[in-house]
Every structure is written in C-alpha cells, then in structure tokens.
Amino acid sequence: MADVLTYVLHYEGELNKNSLGAVSEGAARASEIGGECHAVVVGGEDLSDHLCQSLGAYGARKVFRGRGPEGLAQPVVDVMAKVIDEHGHAYALFGGGLLGFEIGAGLAARKHAGVTMEVISVRAEDGKLVAERPILQDSQISVSRYKGDLGIIIGRINAFEARTVDGGSAEVVDVDVEYSPWSTQAEMVERGEQRGADVDIEGADILVAGGRGLGTAENFKLAEDLAAAFGGNSAVAATRAVVDAGWYPYAAQIGQTGKTVAPKLYLAAGISGAIQHKVGMQSSENIVAINKDAGAPIFEFSDLGVVGDLNKILPKLTEAIKAKKGS
C-alpha cells in the first residue's frame, strides 16, 4: 500500500489554493505507485460535508475531518499522526505555506520520518516517491529518497498546480482525536488581520515593486510616481521586509507569505531577490530589476538588470515614460 496523505488548509469556508495543488499532485503521484490520495482537514463547523466532498474533484478519495482549532500546526500533527497510524500512509504531502512547514516538521518528529522542504517536483521511481528541491540559493537541485515507513514532502509555494480531475465526490471520515497536551497550549487570538490599506495588485499588468533598497517609507513615492506614469492597469507592490517594517500595506506584499503575481512587467526597485520573494513573482513575463548591489540575486533571474542608484534613476525614468506617453 502506498497511499499519500495531504493536508488541506481552509479559511472562512474556502480551501487554500496551494493545498488543492498538493491534493492534485498527491493524486497524480499516488496513482503511479498504486495508491490513493487522501486529505486531512481540521477546523470547526465551516468544514461542511459538501466542502470536504468537493476535494474529490482534485483527486482525493477520502477526507479525514478532525474538529479542532484552525490556523495552528500542532493539532493537525495529532490528527495526521492518528490517521497515518490507522491507515499506514506511505507519504505525507504539503503545499507551500507556513503551516505546511510546521505540520510536516512536527510529523517528522512524531513519526521519526524523513522530511524534505521547499520541494519543486515529485516523481515516482521504482514504486517510491522521490522529491527534488533547490538548494544553495537555487544554484543546485538535490534529490531526496526516503527510508522507513513514511516520507514527508513539503512543497515550495506554487510548486503544485491545483487541477480538477474526474474524481467526483470524496468520502468524508470523521476522526475522533485526543489532542496532545502541548497541542492545546497555543491559542489563536486573532487570525488573518489585514494591516494597512486594501490594494489590488493581483490584477495589475504592470507592477512596480519596492524593497528595502528604497531606503525609507517616503521613497515609496518614487515607485508610486513610476507606476502612475505607466498609467492604465499598473500598481505598486512591496516585499515582506518593508511590509513588516510598516512602509507599505500588507495587501501589496509579494512572496511566500504574500501574493503571487505574474504581470506583463515586474519592475523591482531595491529588491535583492531572496527566494521567499522570487517564488511570488518569478512567472512574470518581463522582469526588470534596479539595484545598487551588482551581486544581488535578483539579477540572476531578471530580463533586464540595472546596477545603479534608485534615487537617480527612478525620477528620470518616470519623466521619460511620461514624455513617451504624452507623445
């Protein structure tokens, strides 16, 4: 038996896109090693039969539903460990995201299992699953093979695409679990708080994104002026570092814990290009980077890289584009 168990995160009655990707990936790979894909969900009343059954459309045959707190990892570890103990899944698979990392790691400890994180591709080899992950700032790919009864695979964000298959409806199985004492010592006080103005960056064709290299919150004006010069469907986005610093609203954040975008033009101003940022914008059609550090990783995946001072370049670029637009 070589079944694959995935975890599906949900929020306010909606299933997480990266989790659905994990279900699709799990279903495709499980079929190659003679198994089924199952899913675990943990939460309250919004986990209706209908919502759980809908995972069948992505390839899950069974959905194990635990009633418990949402948005915290350790209760999910308890549920998954129990399901695996009773059903003997050979792999646990997670889409990208913070909870997947925490649950996968906790499960590895609990079950003495191997774990690989930041996985970008999974394949079957001799009836087993093999995971590939980039290492050393994405300069090398490392291949993980598992020993023992259980292998844990944690995907990089957006690595697995959610695809509907002709799977119909999943069977819902309620799991009665006694939570570990330490799993109930953390309590969600507030979840999903939005900080700062609500802005729409996902629909923009042109994004001017600002990072720490802008120097100050006030300098975001340079990015806003440039976006305005492009006109039409353009917007300003930001990195996690400047959002956490309070320079720009959370709704504009690109990357692992923010939004994923693929505009026609992504102009990165003062962004070094850490992997956590890259995963949220690497599918953009054209990437232009302006940064004073010639060694910034972003130059390795930009189509046009400009090494120079933003304070000098951005105002002149804004004027030049305005002039073109006016002509």
């Binding site: 790691a105 400890a109 299992a113 191997g114 969600m188 042109i206």
Partner: protein, 263 residues
Amino acid sequence: MKICVLVKEVPDAAVEKRIDSSTGRLDRAGEKNLNPYDTHAIEAAMQIREGGAVEVEEIVAVTMGPESAVRALHKAVSLGADRSVHLSDDALAGSDVAATGYALAKAVEKESPDLVLLGQQSDDGECYTIGAVVADHLRMPSLTQVIKMDVADGALRCERQAEYGYDTVQVRLPAVISVGDAINEPRYPSLKAIMGARKKPLEKVAAGEVGIDAGLVGEDGSRVQCGDFHAPEAKPPGRIIEDEDTNETVEQIVAWLEERKLI
C-alpha cells in the same frame, strides 16, 4: 525564567557554498559565521531580560556541530548569552533535519528551559522546520516566523504573518519559538564582550551524555538521503546595464520597454 537559544554556524555569505560530491553533504570547510537569523533570537532573549516583565535568570546558547561550531557559541555569548552548550559527537555527523532536531531537543531537555528561541531559517539549508521538530520532542507548543513577542503571566503573545494576514497567537510557556528578522535589530557586541566571550562557561557534551539514542541520529539514523546533485535548468542570463550616465541608462530602459510594447 531560563531561555535556551539554539544557534548554528553557517557558511559566510561571501564564501561560495558547494556540495562535497564524495559525501553528498554541504562542504563546511569555509564556514565561519553565526547564522544571521540566530542573532535575532539572541536579541529577542536579551529584550525579554531587559524588558523587566519577567526575570530572566539565564540565557544559554546551544549548538550542535563539529569543533569549529565553538565560534558560533563565542559570538552568541558576545551578544548576550551567559554560557553555552556544545553538542558534538562523530555519531551525529550526517544527521538529517528530523535527527538534528531530536538531538538538539535532548541537549535542551537537560537544561529544562522555560523558553527555547531560534532563528526561523538558516542560510545553508533547512528552512522553518527545526523549531517544530524540537518542540514535538520536548512536548512543548511552538510557533515559527514570529515577528513580535510579548511575555506576560506565563505566556507569550506572538504575532506573525501567516497565509491570510497577520495572526496573533497566545502561547503558554514552556514553548519553542522561532523568530523572523523583522522582530528586532540585533545589537553589535562591544569589544569587551567579544574579548570576554571566551571566558564564559562552555560545556561540551557528547551524544550519550544527554541520552541521545545513537540509532536515531547520524547518517544511519536519518530517514532521508540527499543525492544526485545537479544544476537546475538555467534561465538565459538577462541584459545588465551599469548606470554611469543616468540619462543614457534611462534611454536604454525605455527602449527595452518599448521593444516589448510595455509602454
């Protein structure tokens, strides 16, 4: 309150990292720096001590690694830790994430801390995961990627960015918390602290001394094997402009954008 801070020596960002093809492990010969994220964890411990909400009796830096890892401990002590523990044993070499977390948990267990802090990621490999492994072995609640933390009444009020926005989570102590770089600005150690670091107590412990089951660590005790290292499919390198004359640079950018019908 007693705080243990898990620290790690990582390759200096300026040193090119490579895999040793004979062992399949990261070649650590050139490494010499304390993981930058760990400096935020030590700073977080110092701010709890200085915050006054709770009395911190001791801050203990703990690392696992070869002989050279002592340097990371010296750095940790220069940043404020009172003493350090170096878990070092040939039996631990080649441990994967799960085995490393288990071994660290055993070393920490002996210290019976009220709080375990660590950096959320390291520059050289395992991201976001060690804290959760350590916590499960210690049977403590845990949270990763924390960017704000206040201690009161035997609990921590933590904030972090999660999938749907900012979450605020109340965590009862004892707990394992990994912190992000937005949590604080680490201080620079004084010259006196750097000079004094070598005189602070440093205890070296072997796997057996903290009750580590040798069958669960090292290469044989690890459940994942990494290999077949290869280069990823490379994207063709983009064009690079060095800005010397800004007017000229801007002209080139505009021309490039026009060619692609982006203006």
